[in-house]
Every structure is written in C-alpha cells, then in structure tokens.
Amino acid sequence: MEVLQKARKESKKIVLALAGNPNSGKTTVFNALTGARQHVGNWPGVTVEKKEGQFQSGEYTVQVVDLPGTYSLSAYAEDEAVARNYLLFQKPDVVVNIVDATNLERNLYLTVQLLELGANVVVALNMSDELGARQMEINVGELSRLLAVPVVPTVATRNQGMKELVAMALKAAGEKEILPLRLNYGEEMEKELAVLEKEILASPDLAEKYAPRWLAVKVLEGDEFILKELQRHQRLAPLLNRRHEAVKKLEAVWGEDMESLLADRRYGFIGGLAREVVIRRRSAEERLSISDKIDRVVTNRYLGIPIFLLAMWAMFQFTFKLGDPLIGWTEELFEWLGEVLGSLLAALGAGELISSLVGDGIIAGVGAVLVFIPPIFLLFFAISLLEDSGYMARAAYIVDRFMHALGLHGKSFIPLLIGFGCNTPAIMATRTLENKNDRIITILINPLMSCAARLPVYVLFAGAFFGARQGMVIFSLYLLGIVLAILMGVLFKRFLFKGESSHFVLELPPYRMPTLKSTLLHMWERGSAFVRKAGTIIVAVVILVWVLSSLPAGVEYASQESILGRIGSFVAPVFKPAGFGTWEAAAALIFGILAKEVVVGTLGVVYGMGEAGLSSAIAQHWTPLSAYAFMVMTLIYIPCIASIAAIKRETNSWGWMSFAVGYSLVLGWLMAVLVYQVGTLLGLG
C-alpha cells in the first residue's frame, strides 16, 4: 500500500471520491468539478451506476469517482455496499463528503460513518446559500473543529466555493496519517468494544485490512457482510462467541436491538454537535418554508391530481410539438448523408454491394433509429427539469396510491413515465428502486409503455384506415399498453414475486430553481445512453438484417426470394389467425425488433413504395381490423433490441431477458388474435 501511494504521488495523480446523501447536490458538484469529461459505467458485478471524471489542477491530475448517493454505509443495499467496499479496499486519496447544509443532522450521519471508517474526509457544506432564507446559520469553524476535518461552504449550482474545495482536497490528499473517529458509545458498550478490538489486534491480517476500532463496532453491530467474512476464519470463533454474549447482555439491559442502539449513539453525537454549530433564528412554527407552502397546493387531495395531469400534458406537448419538426430535419439529414455517401462510394469505384450495405443497411437502419433522438432528448429535458425542481418526488407521492394497483409503489412511476419516450433509458432508470422484485417487475412491464418509436407505425395504419377517428385509435393503443402493464404487473407480483414488496419512503427535497446547465447535463446522461446503443448493437443488427435481405446472391433486395423474404414466408402462417398472415407483415415485424419504427420502413421496401405511396398500398392489402390487430402486435411483441440489451444489463440475467422477450411475444400474438377473431365475430372484418 505504501509503495502504491508513493507511486501515485510521483505521477501527481490523485483519486478523489465523492460521497453524500441523495439530493445533497453531489451530482452538481461532480459536474462542476469534471465538466463534460465523464465516463459512465457500472460497478463490477452489480448494476449500480459508476461515474468517473477527471480534471487538472496545477500539476495534479485528479480522478473523480462518484460514489452512489447513500444515507449510510450499512451495506444492506447494493449501492451502500459498493460505496463502502470502494472506501475500504480502494482507499481513495481523499473523500469529499457533500453535506446538505439545510439538513445537517441527517447528512452528518453518513459523515460520521465515513470518519469512523478512517476515510480522509473533506466536508463540502453545500447549498449554504439557502441557510439565509431559513434564518439559519452554521458556524463553519466550529463544525470543522468538532469533526476534526476541513469544512468548505459551497454552492455547487453557482460554482461557488469549488476552487477552495479543490484546494482543500488536494492539501488533505497529501496527509499521511488519518486517525479514524472514535465515537464514544457509552460505558457499557465501550467495555465490549475494547475487548473486541483487542481480539482483532491479535489477528494481524484483520488489523491490517480494516481499521480495528471500526471493525469492532461493525462486529458488535452485527454487520452481515463483516460477520460472514469473519466466519470464514476458524480461529475467530471465540471473537464471534464473545460478540453473541455481549449483544445478548446489552440488548437485555437497554431493551433495544444492537443496531438501533449504535445508531442512537451516533445520532446523539450528531445532535449535540448540531446544537453547537447551528444557529436558528426562527421557532419551529415559523419554519414553514416556501416549499411547504407550495406542497400545500401541489400535494393537496383535490388539486394534486389535476396539477399532476397538467404537468404531464405540458411535458408531452413540449416533447412532440417541438420534436415533430426536428424529426423531419433529422430524416432529411440522413437522406442527404445517404446520397452523399452513395455518390462518394460510386466515385471511389465501390461495388454495388458496398454501396447497398452503406446506403440501404447502415445509413437507413441507423438513421431510422437516430431520427428519434430529438423527441427523446426533449422528453428527457422535461423530465430532468421536473426532477431538478423537486416536483418529480411529489408526482411519485401523488401516484403512489394508483401504483398500488400494480403491486408497486410511487417510485416505479418515474421509469414508467420515461418509457413513453424510450424504454431503454427507462429501464436504466429503475435503478432508483431499492427492492429487487419491484425493480424487475418495473423492467418487465416497461416495454408496454408505448414509446415514441411506435408512433409512426400507428400514424401510418390509423391514417390509412381510420380517417377522422385516427386520434382516438392511437390513444386507444397507448391506453391498451397501460392496461396490459397493470394486468401483467399484478400477475407477475402474484405468481413470480410473492414476497412482500418494500414500502414507499421517499425524501421530498425542497423546491429549487433548476439551472440550465444541470438540466442539460441530466438530459445528456439519459439521452447519451440511447445514442451509445444506437452506435454499437444497432449497427451490428442492421448489418445482419441487410445481409439477410441481400442473400442469396443476385436476389432483389428485400424481395420474397431473399433469406428475409423466406423467413417471412415461413413465419407468416403463424399470424394468419391475427389477420395479417403475409410474408410482408412477418418480415416487417422481424425488422421491427431492431427498432419498432423500422416496421414502417420495411413495409415501404417490401411493397416497393416510398413512404408516400405506402398508405394506399396498405389500404389495398389490409382491412381496418387486420390493421388494428397489427398495431396491437407492434405495441406489445418483443421489445426492441436496445431495450433487450438494457434488460439484460439491468437484471444481470439472461433468464429475465429471455422471459421479457418470450412473454411479450406470446402476449402480443394472443392480443392480436383476440382482436381479429372477436372483431370478425362482431362482423367488423
């Protein structure tokens, strides 16, 4: 370890970890420090997001690691375990702990645990500008003295105090000896802790790996991760036996379980500290903040739902009204790109095959997907705005009672909402759900939220057959998706995840005026995930589909004789009961797995029509009923390839991925057949 640290110093590289509660402004600090130089990935082995960035300060290259936002380091939840293991085993040079100044007591709970762990902490007292409005003041010098670490007041949203924070962190990173905080847990407990600590010091390998005092506290606390580790060593059996007796004795004396006892002591320390450093000039009654006044209206029993619906309506209006012209421009851009590349390739003397691969395959295929970038980014902009302002937490509160119908709770609402834009980032957004069962259910039903990519399919078919009523027809498909999501949610809950779901607990952050910079950055984080997918998996699949349409050699592109056409012909009979048992429809659905809107483009190719003549071609080959059945199929069957990849990544399981593909295919077919057969019986065919 010594050697490693020395090596780091010589190359002037410093690892800085950011720790803090959710809503403490940690992400804003991260963005302010690293700007756009970020890398988003996953922590190894788990599905918790890992963000890293870099910045240069004088001669130092500082690598910033954003730890998951947590309230504690108890290692119960996956994200807490990730943060703790990183601090324990990777030992960053310095840990910047972002503390929400307006909510000091709760935020210091994490700080105390960081200090007990022996981390090299610098506290950023963030949002210190909001203290004035609350008639509060914090004695920064005293806080720093009592915690024995540097404290820097910051306002990350306005870039205030960031220079001082960096300077302080770099200075702290040079410190050699860090003494872990020794919190006084009271006489009885200290006696037991002293004995445990002595035992630990007698095992040099343990004493080296963990701070002995911290380990003693964790052993007494009954930390499952630590106990499991210790159980592996036979010779530590006496230590664990001693713990067992000590816990029994202490719990009997205090009438509380060990964890609560220790948490009580920590909060006791924090409470005392807060009394020393926080000066309040208002009584509790006067402290009804502006946030509370807004909440009286926004979460009002009668006004809450209309306001919520209005916010959702405004969000979709914003997305589609602004997005429609942008879609047109993107389409033109790709058409132009295809032509330019085509003529360029021709000029270079490339064969017809290569030109077709680039033009028909890559440009057309990737273009079809990327066309949806404008509305997706606009939707994410609106969602980020709602999140940053603090409204999203209230929306989750308001819909909580409706979400219970699905056996889920309010927090699942946000991923489902994002699904109307694009299911891929929506599936990633389920990371905020603590309970694994809730998370998998939310992931599985997410593709039923009709995303922006399915709209062009509806527009084509509804436009061709339903004339003035097409708006209603399209709306009915959105509604069908929601109803099926509810039914599936209830079924999965009942048969696949019998256990109790986690209860809804959600922090309601104070309302804040969002800044353009942070809203744009949040939008980019979600949207770029979609773009990255388009850049990798989709290109590969596009090429595969192009190959299937071009082989065997000499066949007309995407004709019935191509492999694609043959597969289409082979699969077509399956869809006969649904009213669209043609090879064209089957081929379109196969292409549609790539991205749902590709269904339209494929039909254009197989009917040999541009998108303009397609409407009349469809009117000839389909009936209103089979068209509706086909739209139902498009809505439900197999999520697109980007979503499938996201499901695999987020559930970390091939099994759930296959299940998502399988159930949606079966459900889609059943619903399409049901629509067609019942419709025929009613004489609508």
């Binding site: 309230y71 504690s72 108890s74 119960y76 307006t102 909510n103 000091l104 007591e105 709760r106 709970y109 609350r134 509380e256 379980d257 964890e259 609560s260 948490a263 009580d264 909060y267 509790a284 402290r287 946030s291 509370d292 909440d295 979460t299 029993r301 937490a393 989750a396 509160y397 308001i398 909580d400 009672r401 709770h409 309010g410 603590e434 209860h503 809804f504 607990v505 959600l506 922090e507 309601l508 952050p509 104070p510």
Partner: protein, 79 residues
C-alpha cells in the same frame, strides 16, 4: 405530561410527536434509522390524507412514508 403511545399513521396533520419504538423487520428498521427516524426523534406530521402516503418533517427535511410503514412506527403524541 406523557401522551399515549400510538402508531404514527393515526396522527393528524399538524401533530407533533416523538418516536418511541420501531416495529417491523430488521431491514425496515435499518432504512428508517438511516433516514433519521429513531428513538427520541421529534417529528411533525405535515400531511395525512386517507389513501396516500404520509408526509412528515424531521428537522428541515421532509419524508413521504407509506401508510403501512407509518403504522409500524410507534410515537408519543405532543411536543
């Protein structure tokens, strides 16, 4: 004067209370502890409408809490 001990879910908006006991699983208690709810914590009920989660205030923070959870938090009414 000592008030009655009753589940948090029974308190109306505007009431103040002190947490006296936490029921439920270890996991649940842990989560409540992490959010600052433990023995002796002073809380105010900001909102308690039938059918919705409760909103409570702890110091400067506001928490929305499921009703089922609020029924497992035993509190003593009064400030």
């Amino acid at each position: 004067m000592r008030g009655h001990i009753l589940p948090l879910g029974f308190l109306r908006a505007g009431c103040s209370a002190v947490v006296r006991d936490l029921h439920g699983t270890k996991d649940l208690r842990q989560r409540l502890n992490n959010l600052g709810l433990l023995h002796g914590t002073k809380i105010d009920v900001v909102k308690n409408d039938a059918g919705s989660p409760l909103i409570i205030s702890i110091g400067e923070g506001r928490l929305a809490i499921a009703r089922a959870m609020a029924l497992k938090i035993m509190v003593e009414e009064g400030s």
